[in-house]
């Protein structure tokens, strides 16, 4: 069946284990081909260097560390992403026009944003 996110490869960078698992499940339920996750800046950058992603979900703050370097790596490769944050109104300079979800957020809202960010549906999708 042709689900909403069929064939998509999504990267999730998130340090809250249960939230990470749930986002994985939500995206897998919608047909994502692969959902890959990282919980540290180094792991995330390693994955971005080695694989191609259609889109990413990026937590701004990984265990007290800013994940700005991951945002830069994604931007450098043209991978669209949505930023997840617990704070009300902070965003890195240079990324103020990026999509943001404020924790806790509706999973439907996250999916809606990802759909909007993804490039046109691939021919095999």
């Amino acid at each position: 069946m042709d689900k909403l996110l069929s064939g998509r490869r999504i990267l999730i960078v998130e340090d809250e284990m249960l939230l990470l698992m749930t986002i994985e499940d939500v995206l897998a339920d919608l047909g994502c081909q692969s959902v890959v996750s990282a919980s540290t800046v180094d792991n995330a950058i390693g994955l971005i260097d080695g694989q191609v992603f259609d889109a990413a979900v990026l937590d701004m703050n990984l265990n007290g560390t800013s994940s700005r370097a991951v945002a830069d790596a994604l931007a450098a490769r043209g991978v669209p992403f949505v930023v997840a944050t617990g704070n009300r109104d902070d965003m890195w300079d240079g990324f103020r026009d990026r999509a943001v979800v404020r924790k806790p957020f509706k999973y439907d809202e996250l999916v809606e944003i990802l759909m909007r960010l993804l490039p046109g549906r691939s021919s095999d999708g």
Partner: protein
């Protein structure tokens, strides 16, 4: 030493001689101080004590004769210039916070206090300016802001985690979708209250701000149907959280069964402060009208428990739900928070 400097030094000497012990005291105090000539344009500095020199990193020669504002970090900062002018005019009573720049380029905040020095005829001949270094205070404020942000970050992650636990627990049960939505709506309301408290540094929250915030998610597409009027009376955080939760329950109820469940109903929320023998009280009315005919619920749910029992316990007041056929009326009578003000 140039003639100009010699001239400035000589002026300082004569100034010291004239004011005598006062200047000796100004010289010795640990508070940074300068004297300014009121008779010359640009308010030149004619005396600076050692504390001022160690605060700013300049030598006495570099400071004397300079315009009073030469130390400003942002010379064109209109707001700061207005504050300094108000100090000169004696129109500021608490001192003004100004950002200054040391000789080495580093910036610091100082509270500035200016007083006129009058001659026997009452003319202002000099101004006397003192500076309190606010560096430590500003660092302290930034640090506590950081702690509050960190706390908020933790709270938000915890709420997001609770939300995922609920999602995971109910995932295999499609008919539980409604339960999941009810829980999520309450988690989101709690999350918004935390945002509001965080934005106020967890000090206090105004009733008007609190209501606008709590009802914001319900306003979408219903412009003009929710009217909120009253003063922004400040509540302490714990009470603000309880009120937020209660208003969220009332609004949720209105969407499901009340004035927001059809296309024409509206809600008027108003309050006033009442002086009584036992002290000031706030009388608040949440009045719904033009909704569907109201039928009192056969059993009371979590929402009405929060409103009728939880809230009065928290605030030490009384709360009453009146299921009038024409529209729900919720009345609250709560003691005004101590030292509550507007703003």
């Amino acid at each position: 030493m140039s003639d100009e400097q010699k001239d400035a030094e000589a002026k300082v000497e004569s100034f010291k001689n004239k004011l005598g012990p006062f200047v000796v005291a100004a010289d010795a105090t640990r508070m940074a101080m300068v004297f300014i000539d009121a008779k010359q344009p640009g308010n030149p500095i004619i005396f600076a004590n050692d504390s001022f020199l160690s605060l700013t990193g300049y030598t006495r020669q570099e400071v004397l004769g300079e315009s009073f504002n030469f130390l400003m970090a942002h010379a064109a900062d209109a707001e700061a210039l207005a504050k300094i002018e108000a100090e000169f005019q004696g129109k500021s009573d608490g001192g003004s916070e100004i950002r200054y720049r040391r000789k080495d380029g580093s910036e610091f905040w100082a509270a500035l206090f200016i007083s006129p020095v009058r001659s026997e005829d009452g003319d202002i001949v000099q101004y006397f300016a003192s500076f309190i270094d606010l560096t430590a205070l500003k660092q302290e404020q930034a640090h506590s802001r950081q702690l509050i942000d960190e706390l908020n970050h933790r709270v938000k992650n915890t709420l997001a985690t609770v939300q995922s636990i609920v999602w995971q627990a109910l995932r295999a049960t499609p008919e539980a979708k409604a339960i999941q939505e009810v829980i999520e709506a309450r988690l989101f309301a709690l999350s918004r209250s935390h945002d509001l408290l965080t934005s106020k540094n967890w000090k206090s929250v105004g009733l008007l701000d609190l209501l606008n915030d709590a009802l914001a998610p319900f306003v979408g597409g219903r412009a003009g149907r929710i009217v909120i009027t009253g003063e922004n009376i400040k509540f302490w955080p714990q009470a603000a959280l309880a009120l937020s939760i209660a208003f969220n329950e009332l609004a949720t109820n209105a969407v499901k069964y009340g004035a927001l469940s059809n296309d024409s109903g509206s809600i008027l929320i108003e309050w006033k402060m009442d002086p009584t023998a036992e002290g000031r009280r706030i009388d608040l009315r949440w009045r719904e009208k033009d909704g569907p005919l109201v039928i009192p619920p056969s059993r009371k749910g979590f929402g009405s428990r929060v409103i009728e029992h939880g809230l009065p316990d928290e605030l030490g007041g009384t709360v009453h739900l009146d299921y009038r056929p024409s529209g729900l009326l919720c009345t609250m009578s709560i003691p005004a928070p101590e030292a509550s003000g507007n703003g």
